[in-house]
Amino acid sequence: MLQAKRGMAVFSNCQSIGGAALKGYLKYFGGKLIWFLITLIFAFLLNFILPRLMPGDPVAIITQRVVQGMTSQTGIQKVYEEYATLFGTNRPMHEQFFLYVRNLFQGNLGTSFSQYPRPVADILKSSLGWTLALQLPAILVGWMIGNTLGALAAYVKKGFDKVLLPASIFLSNLPAFGMAVILLVIFGVQLKWFPTSGGYGFDMIPKFSWDFIKSVILHYQLPFWSIVTIAIGGQAIGMRSMSIYELNADYVKFARFLGIKDRKIIGYVFRNAMLPQITGLALSIGTMVGGALVAETIFSYPGLGSTILTAVMGQDYPMISAATLLITLMVLVTTFLIEILYGVIDPRIKAAQTD
């Protein structure tokens, strides 16, 4: 019966836009915004503090690189102190924090330690585009194909389901690393259909030409499909279970009794089944900035994932803080938008929150 109620609630959502509802919606929106800000502040603090609590000393790493071949002990000490002063690592943590905040408000993300003297913003700028261009389509395509296949499996059943389910379970359990290596070995090394590394040809200079675009497309394929194939499996399994669940729900039977057209019922069913999938999509979009590490590393594909890895290994505080800030913001913004969107799609959520 509960299911029937749930279904009916969705039936009626389009009637709920009235004056009181708008007020409720604003209250809901306001509440979300406050939580959003509180989370942001805490995440911001942690982004600053946590990297600096790592054992080790980034200035020593840089010093080691700089002093190779130097034999004077006092000279080496001097170089160390110079960099410690320059990066401010010899100041108390709270001073470093205020300096960081001040710079941030001036739009300055600081200077990278590991790629000194390159500004962090410059590094982000040059790698973010590649990551977005690889990840966003891959996530969307994986999500769409996965959900479509999942829905088909639930609805068509029969042979389709028998093949799809085990295949999906297999794919979704394969680590991303494994899939990337399999694709690399089969299509890159053995068949030589696709290049094994880089974002464009090893012998190319970026230029707006057909050859170059072709090269980019060719280099795009393996990293792209290594992300998509993994995503498809998980999405399909989720969507299949949700759809089967909804297809057997009381409200579906009830609606059939009422003589509502099959097509309309299917619409309701998939709309309900989609809800958790949308949350999943939002989260993958939010975390995608750091998520392409495997594809980037295996295929030497340019992007932010490997930049973050290098930053962590080199204890590059400004770079780590900036990257985690970016991830935090993206996760928060997407979840915030989804929550707001939920209020529109599913009135139960808004109602539950404002009651």
Partner: protein, 628 residues
């Protein structure tokens, strides 16, 4: 109904797939957005670096038969070109030091690690010492020119030194204790004056000599412009990416992004004068793809996308023996390369029991070095039977500097469990409580063997050291912290966390093997903080300090051999540390798909295998030929 739904869903799939194949277009925007970066050097070049280029010259792809691809040097994006900064990460172009990298900036002399010779580059003929060995004099070649067409002068050399000192660059700080001034006697003649000690002798003549083959000469006029731009501030000067540089070398910048670095030949390069090379280097472009890791670089080498690989490629001989690829190394047989350094395990002399020489010697004798060399290095190192252990690297020049027969009794080759056990028993270090481990005064001998995580060949070596410990009743457990942590602990002279730990050693260079003797044993480093120099175990021996002080001022060859032999004897007797393998300064694997006539051990040209960029190795670029 059902059919219709399937139709719609199928449409969605088709749409998704279409979207997938369209998306690369979005990807293209990024590099396209960067296009001005390509044009920029083209516009700047004629004025700044003297290369006549315009945007139309920049092809979408580099001609394969004009480009030499190098791998294993540049692992992340290039940051700048500044010869005064040591943080440029311009790995293919800018790297001062023992065998300075000279495709862009040049040194007065090029070091040849094969025979220790210093070959004139910007300098004209050999340098001379004065009788007191306190001053070096050399002249600059008449033909030497900057990329803007002005001559390289002695004044440039002097001003470079003054700038190094004034702004406390790595070179200025590093050599400041040994060099008083660099002066221009006339436009062609340079005098390098050593700092003097209380007796009026040079503090260290070896390091004075090293300066002229290790550090770059920078144009005075350009330096002045840089100083002005930096407001005469040291930090700003060293932070400047120096995109407008004027240099004297055969190559200059062409293109770089997060994925590659490309240099282009300066066809007006002065070195084509008969007083230097007599021709231009053969490849028009030098390119370095930035690979994510060793494996990606290895695949590219196999695919013919890399010509010269400075990477450790395990079982490198399989590339030609098994895969049948046109790939070769410095030598056709093991150890395949020219090894020059001695990765070493240091004993922390503060650890309980390691202050006892019998314990140190027993562990060192018991280790199975042949297995380390066969497994960790896949035989890319000579064994200790082939090159008996000493403080020398395996190059002929260094091996000739000590009397091998005099120390032959001390040179253990390893795997001597019996001998090690006997030594410990004799020293009264036995298992007195029957727990299976030896003890001293009732305290069990238990140590950790440490090296950074992910340094797989070192980790394999540490496992073998631990196994040796078990054979002789000394408990040794391995520990692999991350490099970030490791390098803050082992440089602390007071640390007690690591007992047996691995550190690299100096390779070949103008101050070797003196520098290595000092690195391994000099007490000036014992117990110091932030110690990147050496003697990490804290060994102190006044006699070795005397030897280290005497060698740089010794010109007499027989006396030098005496001193080095004594140093080796002390090293093999006291065993403050022990080397585990030999290792090349640079790995060197070449692919002959496109280019051939690379430097090789048996070609009689004496060009060292240093990736065709470092010191005299750059001579290799002039001899390259296209595969017919």
């Amino acid at each position: 109904m059902k059919k219709r739904l399937i139709f719609i869903l199928s449409l969605v799939i088709v749409f998704s797939l279409l979207l997938a194949s369209c998306t690369p277009a979005a990807n293209v925007e990024e590099p396209v957005g960067e296009e001005p970066a390509v044009e920029e050097p083209a516009e700047e070049e004629p004025a700044a670096a003297g290369v006549d280029l315009d945007a139309a010259d920049i092809a979408a792809s580099l001609p394969r038969d004009e480009t030499l691809y190098i791998a294993g040097l540049q692992w992340s994006a290039l940051v700048g070109w500044n010869p005064y900064a040591s943080t440029n990460n311009n790995a293919m172009g800018v790297s001062a030091g023992s065998s300075a990298r000279v495709p862009i900036w040049e040194t007065p002399y090029m070091y040849n690690m094969i025979n220790g010779e210093e070959i004139p580059l910007l300098a004209d003929g050999d340098y001379t010492w004065n009788d007191a060995m306190t001053e070096i004099t050399f002249t600059i070649k008449e033909a030497a020119m900057w990329s803007d067409g002005t001559p390289v002068t002695a004044d440039d050399v002097a001003y470079t030194w003054a700038t190094n000192v004034k702004y406390e660059t790595t070179a200025g700080v590093g050599y400041g204790e040994y060099i008083e001034t660099v002066e221009a006697l006339d436009p062609q003649t340079v005098v390098v004056k050593a700092k003097l000690d209380a007796d009026g002798n040079a503090v260290n003549p070896l390091l004075v000599k090293a300066y002229i083959s290790s550090e770059y000469v920078v144009q005075k006029a350009w330096t002045e412009a840089l100083e002005e731009r930096a407001g005469f501030d040291a930090a700003a000067l060293k932070e400047d990416p120096a995109e407008d540089f004027v240099a004297s070398g055969p190559y200059t910048k062409f293109y770089n992004d997060d994925q590659k670095v490309v240099f282009v030949r300066d066809d007006n390069y002065w070195g084509q004068d008969d007083s230097m090379w007599g021709s231009l280097p053969v490849p028009k472009y030098l390119a370095h793809t930035i690979y994510a890791d060793n494996n990606a670089g290895f695949l590219a080498l196999k695919a013919g996308e890399v010509d010269v690989s400075q990477q450790f490629n395990a079982n490198v001989q399989d590339l030609w023996l098994v895969d049948g690829l046109p790939i070769s190394t410095w030598m056709d047989d093991a150890p395949y390369g020219l090894t020059a350094s001695l990765p070493t395990a240091y004993y922390n002399l503060k650890s309980f029991g390691l202050d006892n020489v019998a314990v140190r010697k027993a562990i060192a004798m018991a280790v199975d070095y042949d297995t380390i060399i066969a497994n960790a290095m896949t035989n890319q190192s000579p064994t200790f039977a082939q090159v008996p252990r000493s403080v020398m690297n395996p190059t002929a020049g260094e091996q000739a500097l000590y009397d091998q027969a005099a120390v032959a009794d001390l040179q253990w080759v390893g795997s001597d469990i019996e001998g090690a056990n006997a030594l410990l028993d004799e020293a009264g270090i036995v298992d007195s409580d029957g727990d299976g481990w030896r003890d001293i005064d009732g305290q069990k001998l238990s140590y950790n063997a440490v090296c950074p995580n992910g340094w797989s060949d070192w980790q394999a070596a540490m496992e073998i050291v631990a196994a040796a410990g078990e054979e002789i009743g000394i408990e040794i457990t391995t520990l692999y912290p991350e490099w970030g942590v490791y390098q803050t602990v082992f440089v602390d002279g007071e640390q007690t966390e690591y007992d047996i730990f691995m550190v690299w050693s100096d390779g070949a260079g103008p101050t070797q093997p003196w520098g290595r003797v000092r690195q391994i044993m000099s007490s000036e480093f014992a117990g110091t903080q932030g110690n990147w120099n050496g003697n990490w175990g804290g060994y102190v021996n006044p006699r070795i300090d005397e030897i280290i002080a005497e060698i740089p001022a010794t010109a007499d060859q027989a006396r030098l051999i005496e001193l080095y032999t004594e140093a080796t004897e002390i090293y093999l007797t006291d065993i403050p540390s022990f080397s585990l393998m030999y290792r090349p300064d640079q790995f060197y694997t070449v692919n002959e798909t496109v280019w051939t006539n690379y430097p090789a051990a048996d070609d009689g040209r004496n060009i060292p295998p240093m990736n065709l960029l470092d010191g005299y190795s750059i001579a290799g670029l002039y001899g390259l030929e296209l595969v017919p």
